[in-house]
């Protein structure tokens, strides 16, 4: 999809937990919580509050009256996307709930841009969240359980990111998007989600360059959402074997957000991961003129704990959005 009237990213806002705040990108986030619960009674409530904070932050930064926002698009990892639903209850905006697992930020920006470019909206608010502890208890083990994590395992980011898209104004623009196909290369290991998602990301990247007749060097930065170190290496290898050399501008938000000393093994994952890296680091570098054309490929693992226990493999998906300064 190429947008005829590319929507503008009017503002962005990111809220993260303490671990993300200590990471290499700590200074790029708008707000860092001192602890994961932030005074709420449960992690689920905290995650929903975090999403609200990010969305309200984006609205305030753009100084746009809330009544002017036509749609709110949001998603998260919890069952029935409750963090987004409860945040939407407070936001009181026309709400479209999205689920693309960890790819939801890219999906939301793509759908929001379609709404604006199609003439159905002037302003669309997009936000996603994830929380380490809510994801852990839903997908894996109780958090106080003493167990070792696999070397390929990733750490779910506690964070929420939001962007406000508008039909006109000043700021970086969303120029094109590629909606991904679900690709399943029969990976069953839920501790190696990067490997499960890498083929879908590679497929979307191939399709994007084919559709747009461009090459990786035409972009200053190509960032996948949360493949982690293992998934990123696999995606590079898949693309290389398919005849596409990604060069040096290909990286992964899940690799950027933590450093080695934080002991996260393969890197980060979760909706929050790509959303806070985009809302923080990437958009700031675009605004500073350091990056001209960036592609974000949100990566999602579309499984559930039930499907994994029943022996189903993990379907992956990748959605690409291109943002130009």
């Amino acid at each position: 999809m190429v947008f005829a009237k590319p929507p503008v990213i009017l503002s962005s806002y990111s809220v993260v937990g303490p671990k993300e705040g200590q990471g290499p990108l700590g200074k790029t986030f708008d707000k860092v919580w001192k602890d994961d619960l932030n005074g709420e009674k449960s992690w689920e409530v905290a995650e929903s509050k975090m999403l609200q904070e990010a969305m309200n932050g984006a609205i305030n930064q753009a100084s746009v009256p809330k009544e002017q926002i036509d749609f709110m698009l949001a998603g998260d990892l919890l069952n029935q996307i409750i963090s987004s639903n409860f945040a939407a209850r407070q936001m009181a905006l026309p709400f479209i709930g999205l689920y693309g697992a960890c790819s939801t930020m890219a999906l939301g920006i793509a759908v929001g841009s379609m709404l604006i470019d199609g003439g159905f909206a002037q302003k669309v608010l997009v936000g996603v969240s994830s929380h380490h502890d809510t994801a852990e208890r839903q997908y894996r083990l109780p958090t106080e359980q003493g167990a070792q994590r696999a070397m390929s395992a990733q750490w779910t980011v506690t964070g929420a990111g939001s962007v406000l898209l508008g039909s006109d104004g000043a700021g970086p623009r969303v120029t094109s998007a590629t909606i991904g196909r679900v690709i399943d290369f029969a990976v069953k290991d839920v501790n190696n989600m990067g490997a499960a998602m890498a083929p879908a990301v590679a497929d979307t990247i191939l399709n994007h360059f084919h559709d747009r007749q461009l090459r990786p060097v035409d972009y200053n930065l190509i960032a996948s959402g949360d493949l982690g170190a293992v998934g990123l290496a696999l995606a590079c290898e898949l693309l290389k074997q398919s005849g596409m050399d990604m060069g040096t501008n290909f990286t992964d938000c899940g690799v950027m957000i933590y450093d080695e000393s934080q002991d996260t093994h393969s890197g980060a994952s979760g909706c929050g991961c790509s959303s806070v890296v985009l809302a923080g680091d990437i958009l700031q570098r675009i605004k500073a003129g350091e990056l001209k054309r960036v592609m974000l490929v949100g990566s999602g693992a579309l499984h559930s704990p039930t499907s994994a226990l029943q022996g189903e493999s993990i379907p992956g998906i990748g959605h690409a959005v291109v943002i130009e300064g």
Binding site: P142, E144, Q145, G146, A147, Q148, M151, A195, L238, S242
Partner: protein, 155 residues
């Protein structure tokens, strides 16, 4: 819009071939390091248990009673350290060394109890208490029944 007459690009790697790529790129578990750490941590936990057995024996308890009291003490310590948020750190370092002893069992009960308290005492703590330890109990008890039955037949 893309030119629909063009052939769609395809990943030139099959799912089968991908499995070998995964093996190649996924870091191996650090088995030797884990085994050594498990040996040390497990050894320390068991040594502490032995200290308690000796201590209780010196108070005049019989051998069997002393080891029962020591087991109860170790369960208490495992639960306490879980509650203080320390046991998961020990588990991360020690692996099987801190899972196999009775303290690990205490951890596997207390951790879900803490985790699911927010869903209430019946459907939360009550229903989820044995999410980790449940399989161990089910197959442990089932095995002991079978072994007990065989023992009964042989004697």
């Amino acid at each position: 819009m893309a030119d629909q007459t063009l052939k769609k690009p395809l990943l030139s790697v099959t799912a089968e071939k991908y499995q070998t790529l995964i093996k190649q790129y996924t870091p191996k578990p650090t088995i030797i390091k884990n085994v050594v750490r498990a040996f040390i941590v497990g050894g320390i936990i068991c040594s502490i248990g032995q200290i308690f057995i000796n201590l209780f024996s010196s108070f005049g308890l019989a051998r069997v009673e002393a080891s029962t009291a020591a087991t109860a003490t170790m369960i208490f310590l495992g639960a306490l350290l879980t509650g203080l948020g320390v046991y998961d750190e020990i588990g991360k370092f020690g692996g099987a060394g801190s899972i196999v002893p009775v303290t690990g069992f205490a951890n596997s009960i207390v951790a879900p109890a803490m985790e699911f308290k927010r869903e209430g005492y019946v459907m939360g703590v009550g229903a989820k208490l044995f999410t980790v330890a449940g399989p161990v109990l089910v197959y442990g008890i089932a095995t002991s029944i079978v072994v007990g039955f065989v023992y009964f037949l042989l004697h």
